[in-house]
Amino acid sequence: MMDDTLRTMPIGSKAILTSLEGDSDFIRRLNELGFLPGTTFTLLRRAPFGGPIEIGFGQTRIAFRPDSSVRIHIHQFT
């Protein structure tokens, strides 16, 4: 489950990743791609019907399933 804040975060808004919890392989790969606590990212898109979400930071754009295996904690800018 993602944090409610990521779930409800408006498309196009920015937030800081505060922590990741859950499946260690998944977290490791997100970290390796540069998605580490402290990273400022933009929520770019949500796929239709509750599909994957797309985020962008720096030159990177990745999409992943809002899967139950990882909890994503963020701090949203207001």
Partner: protein
Amino acid sequence: MSHQDSSYIAFVGTPNSGKTTLFNVLTGMRKKVGNFPGITIEPSLGFVVNDQQRIAIIDLPGTYSLLPTSLDEELTVSVLHNELSSIPKPSAIVFVMDATNFDKSLYLYSQVAELGLNMIIALTMVDGVKARSGVIDDIALERLTGLTVIPIVGHKGIGVESLKEAITNEHAWHKPNMPPAFEEIRDRVHWVKTISDTIIRMKEGDRLTQRLDAILLHPIGGIISFLCIMAVFFQSIFSWAIPFMDLIESGFSSLEQIVLSSMGPGILSDLIARGLIAGVGSVIVFLPQIIILNVFVVILEDCGYLARAAFLIDRLMGVFGLQGRSFIPLLGSYACAIPGIMSARIIPSHRDRMTTMLIAPLMTCSARLPVYTLIISAFIPPMIVGGFFSLQAVILAGLYALGAFTGLLVAFIMKKSLFKGDVIPFLIEFPPYRMPSLKSLSVSVSERALDFLKSAGTVIVTLSLILWCLSAFPRIEDNPLATSIEQQQMQLEHSYAGMIGKTIAPVFEPLGFDWKLTVGVLGSFAAREVFVTVMGQLYGTDTTDSDATLRSTLQQTIPFASALSVLAFYVYALQCISTMSILKRETGSWKWPAFAFAYMFALAYAFAFLVHLVAS
């Protein structure tokens, strides 16, 4: 390893770094189908040749890290760590570094450099940096790494000659400067960030990509464009391939006729015409669909759309335990499971790829259509239901839907049992849109077509010959009073195929099949549409007769319940040696085609039994 000495150079890089394009442009058709026992994901093996030498290079699957999360990444890692008996450690590495995705490339580089092998860097996509009004300091990169850096614009061929020259001078390569020792991933990521700030400067994001994605990933526009692209794809393998397939089929059948008429009747002319020529024809006929489907898939992948399509369709496929990338192989399987199964290579997750390949034959391929139309037009009255729909069309649509639904259900079960695993959830990177390289495209497509001819084609021809022998032996004497059609009918009845059909007919009896239907089912192993030909032979109508004759004969001799049962059987049964041989090719063993055959036969048998029970 299959070449003379086991020394070779490996291509290593992140996914979408232009590594495979560069590899294809460099080696052209100087490739070999790798023969690496026990490995299902086969890396490409190619050669760079000059006057004095031939250097082997291997394209290892792209990975973001040397801590793998999928089987193909694991292959790259185990080769580099020298953990495989079939592929030894490379003597040196060409590290393909994507300038537009510099941080991720540098991250992987820092791990690969720790291996201490001789390396050079091929810096790809340098034109992409310019397009984002940026600069990359390749001299600084050389200083940092201690390696030769060769800037490349792959699709224009710039830098390819220099890279080729460097590859033929391997003795001049160096070991990289050791990066600092890192304790955590975080430290490595921060080091990468610090270094990359001194080497590359460019705007965030590519304008063209942003504009295209505003349409192609738009909640409504994205779905509409996805449907349009898939419709063209579907149309292309169905309709555009048909004229070529017809041409090949009529070409081979006139060749058969020429042989039969010039050599006269007899066992030898029959072997050459109906065994050999028909067998080779049944292989070549797949080529138009294989080529068209692969052109389409390679273009979608190389231009960057495939990742977007996977993103859009992922939710739907996720319901059945599959992922977005499974969609294309499954859609392709509606034309034919063979190109469909081959295109499952675009799925990086091994488990998802296996599941997709194993359910692909349940999608209603075009070879089932002749069987469906024959039975439906003979047994289902052309009445109108619901005021608008023809009953025949409703039944046909129902058969299509049944195949798709069952396939997805089987996928769901397989992902819960057989291929349950610790793979990480769907995670995909969106590369910038790029112009595909025409040369790389033609190399990839012809490589796959040749691979099909060599590995699956030989099996298909052999099996067709065996099937021919079963229906041609033992010979019966020519009866001067019989017409040639009656002669054929008697020959088939008294052949091994006929005998086998009669012997195992009791097995199919609960489905309402008599021995003739059983022989038809057996014969259609060569290809499902052969069922129609065999029925024609057994019921004494020539294939040149109009189908109407055969239809009325079938109506009079086969009970209605049995006819429905045949339909039910063909929805599920894996009646196709070509599919089985391509499954063997793609999974690396006969275990999986045997498994697929068994589970589909069980499904087919159970369903046909049920239908027969209800209908009679």
